[in-house]
């Protein structure tokens, strides 16, 4: 006879079945994501070189990064910082993000608007612009490394022919290295462009009809109809793009390995945050310090993402939603 106290309700049985079905994913998430995150948080408070057991060092890693900020600012002397190279890597990454993110969003959106026109062969053009985004990062880096070469690359002769000025040293010039990477990144905006394209095709046509009836010209329709209706997609691309720029690694690793200045380029001009993290982990055998950097990056990206989410209520409009209301 069944024990009445063990009988589950239908709702409970269904919930249990649901959890059991997703349990492989949950277990995997716990073992392969949460578990390593907890471990890396622990390692961030240790000296750990992989070979020897981790040695607890309290907050020494965090102190090293954040010490000396005030004296460095007051004295305009970066050598006062606990780890000037950390701040250099953050500066390079932020510089790249400030340049690449807006340009990527604008350029991708611009392309999508162009490719949303009903012209013969538009599908071929869409394919052409999308293709670079599916090429692996290593291949892209090798290709552009050749394009940027000041002597044998194709870019400088084009600049010299059109603008009659000598092209820069690009990756070999500390002032042009980051702009070179931004330019390389723009070549791959096809992924974002496709998402914009899908968004553009979801804008209700009756809005455009209504605008035309009201006498709106092409620019006014773009500004008052297209752009507001596209803000959710722009928001999505902004969040993903921001996370992507802070995780920039593959291309710059391939391009600067073995070059002048070593990993990080000449005068550390392309020493991105993740590159410096990699160096600490695998070149200097300081996995604890690398874990510290990883958690600081997590906090930075989390804060920025939350700020973007918070700001979205002022500039992101979902269809049928009044401003500021659900």
């Amino acid at each position: 006879m069944k024990n009445p106290r063990l009988r589950l309700s239908l709702r409970q049985k269904e919930a249990l079945s649901g959890y059991l079905f997703i349990s492989p994913w949950i277990v995997g998430f716990l073992i392969f994501t949460i578990g390593p995150m907890i471990a890396s948080l622990y390692y961030s408070f240790t000296d750990y070189d992989i070979i020897s057991p981790p040695r607890w060092n309290n907050f020494a890693n965090y102190k090293k990064i954040f010490s000396g900020i005030l004296p460095a600012i007051l004295n305009q002397d970066s050598s006062r910082l606990g780890d000037p190279i950390f701040w250099q890597s953050l500066k390079v990454t932020l510089t790249y993000a400030v340049m690449a993110l807006p340009l990527g969003l604008i350029f991708g959106f611009f392309l999508a608007v162009l490719l949303n026109q009903k012209v013969p062969g538009v599908n071929i053009w869409r394919t052409i612009y999308f293709l670079p985004s599916v090429i692996a990062g290593v291949a892209v880096a090798l290709l552009w490394g050749r394009i940027f070469n000041p002597r044998v690359g194709i870019l400088n002769p084009i600049i010299e022919a059109i603008f009659h000025v000598k092209g820069p040293g690009w990756l070999g010039d500390p002032h042009w290295a980051v702009p070179a990477l931004v330019l390389m990144g723009l070549w791959g905006v096809g992924g974002g462009m496709i998402i914009y394209l899908a968004g553009l095709q979801g804008v209700p046509t009756d809005l455009y009809d209504a605008a035309k009836v009201d006498g709106a010209n092409m620019f006014q329709r773009f500004w008052h109809v297209t752009l507001p209706m596209m803000t959710p997609v722009i928001f999505y691309n902004l969040v993903l793009g921001m996370i992507g720029t802070f995780q920039y690694f593959t291309e710059v690793y391939v391009l600067t390995s073995g070059g002048s200045g070593g990993l990080g380029g000449p005068v550390r001009s392309t020493l991105f945050y993740n590159l410096y993290l990699y160096e600490n982990a695998f070149r200097y055998n300081q996995m604890g310090y690398a874990a510290t950097m990883a958690w600081i990056l997590f906090v930075i990206v989390l804060v920025l993402t939350l700020l973007v989410f918070r700001s979205s209520e002022y500039w992101v409009f979902y269809e049928g939603q009044l401003k500021g209301k659900d």
Partner: protein, 470 residues
């Protein structure tokens, strides 16, 4: 309902298997000195980890496998196998193997820098040498010294030496109408000042003007006079005769000496060479000379090229110009110091079957096989007894080349070595590399004193941090 039950059971089995796999038994590496006898009749495997230095080209892999086959045909109880790892991944892979309890039995060939980077991981071969009365007197002195730790631990048996000298493009000298560099190691007129003079004469612009000409166009140089771009900061600095030779610290590793007067003199010489005299390429120009392979000498972009024996491969016979080798010059103090490398094979302390590894190591570097090893790795054999045979091999490989330069250069290898260990060596070398990149890329001549003072302060901070926790 039945299908739902089956899915539930399948999910439970999957979860259980994942948990059991994650909680599997941990492998414990054997402690140092512990040997494990294989089951009777089973061969002990000796895995040789290749990738920390040279040895990963296809021709080299073929030759290594042939060497392993030769060893295996004569050893019933040990099986030798080469594990080839791409250079870029080698360090991470090696560390992962050691921390995972699967350390290879032998690692090499490794230069001083690499073996020093992992110096705490190697077995001390001193007891093995003593136990077997192994005779090390046939090895060149520097080959042994360069791979001893500061506390005297002998971390490997040397395979080869890589002395350095200059390679010069005879066609470039003929075109400039000047005599080739001397081959006499005792000729004290061959100085760094003389090198500058000669290098400027062979530096040519697109209009055929050399760097001594008033019409010389430094924006259109087709051949640079001198280059040492495959070397790093310490390679460049070592030849200038500082008391610590190639080490950027005092002997106790506690005080940085990057701004030693001799190094300041040297770095200023290089800065002037790039930005004032224009016989060395800056960073931008250098990356453009041979973008495919980064070998400016082979494409005729550089007339005098300082490098080591590891540069001497088969492709040198296919160069589109005549070439030879000559001694590097005397420095401003009248000394000859050439940076040299020495490669070893070492046994990780945590490896299994260390006795078998020791037997394999002795076989690899014995008189018969060390020559074959050096053919594979482009080194000069570390044994004096095979010098004559090696010289014959060199002469056959490179007819017309003055091979005596190679043997003479072996007498001038730098101790303390330019690749030697210092605390937090990775960070220190990165700081020095950054200083060099400033020199080569900032578009203007540098005041070496202020550059090295700044660099010295950075290195000192690293040393202070290291010793605060050790």
């Amino acid at each position: 309902m039945k299908t739902k039950s089956l899915w539930l059971i399948a999910s439970l089995i999957l979860i259980a298997s994942m948990i059991l796999t994650a909680c599997g038994p941990k492998t414990t590496p054997p402690s140092a000195g512990e040997t494990q006898a294989p089951p009777a009749g089973e061969k002990v495997k000796v895995t040789i980890f290749i990738g920390m230095g040279t040895g990963t080209d296809p021709e080299q892999i073929t030759a290594e496998n042939a060497l392993a086959a030769k060893f295996n045909s004569t050893h019933d109880n040990i099986e030798m196998e080469f594990l080839i790892v791409p250079y870029e991944q080698s360090r991470e892979k090696f560390q992962a193997m050691v921390s995972g309890g699967t350390a290879p039995q032998l690692v090499g060939p490794m230069g001083v820098e690499t073996s020093g980077q992992f110096q705490d991981l190697w077995e001390d071969l001193g007891p093995y040498i003593q136990r077997d009365n192994y005779d090390t007197s046939d090895f060149y002195g520097p080959a042994i010294e360069l791979n001893k730790t500061a506390d005297g631990k002998n971390i490997g048996l040397p395979v080869g030496l890589y002395p350095s000298f200059i390679f010069y493009n005879k066609n470039a000298f003929d075109a400039a109408g000047i005599a080739y560099p001397t081959h006499d190691f005792n000729d004290k007129t061959w100085t760094l000042a003389k090198l500058r003079e000669v290098a400027m004469q062979v530096t040519m612009d697109a209009n055929g003007k050399n760097a001594t000409s008033s019409d010389f166009d430094p924006a259109n140089i087709v051949t640079y006079g001198f280059d040492d771009s495959w070397g790093n900061f310490r390679d460049w600095a070592v030849i200038w005769g500082a008391p610590n030779v190639g080490r950027p610290t005092t002997a106790d590793f506690k005080t940085a000496t990057v701004n030693a007067p001799e190094w300041v003199t040297g770095i200023q010489w290089y800065s002037d060479a790039i930005w004032v005299d224009h016989f060395m390429a800056d960073g931008t120009a250098l990356s453009a000379i041979d973008p495919a392979n980064g070998d400016p000498f082979a494409v005729g972009g550089v007339a005098i090229w300082k490098s080591h024996t590891w540069y001497m491969g088969d492709s040198l016979n296919d160069l589109p110009f005549k070439w030879d080798i000559a001694p590097a010059p005397y420095n401003q103090k009248g000394e000859q110091i050439f940076n040299g490398d020495a490669d070893v094979f070492a046994i990780p302390a945590s490896a299994k079957n260390k006795d078998a590894a020791w037997e394999a190591l002795k076989w690899l570097v014995n008189e018969e096989n060390i020559l074959e090893m050096c053919k594979i790795y482009g080194c000069m054999p570390a044994r004096k007894s095979v010098a004559e045979t090696y010289n014959t091999t060199l002469t056959e490989m490179y007819p017309g080349i003055d091979t005596s330069v190679v043997f003479s250069a072996a007498n001038f290898i730098d101790v303390s070595n330019h690749e030697g260990w210092v605390p937090d060596v990775g960070r220190v070398n990165e700081i020095l590399a950054n200083a060099l990149s400033k020199l080569m890329t900032e578009g203007e001549n540098h005041d070496a004193q202020s550059l090295l003072d700044e660099t010295n302060a950075e290195v000192q901070a690293i040393l202070d941090e290291y010793w605060a926790s050790h």
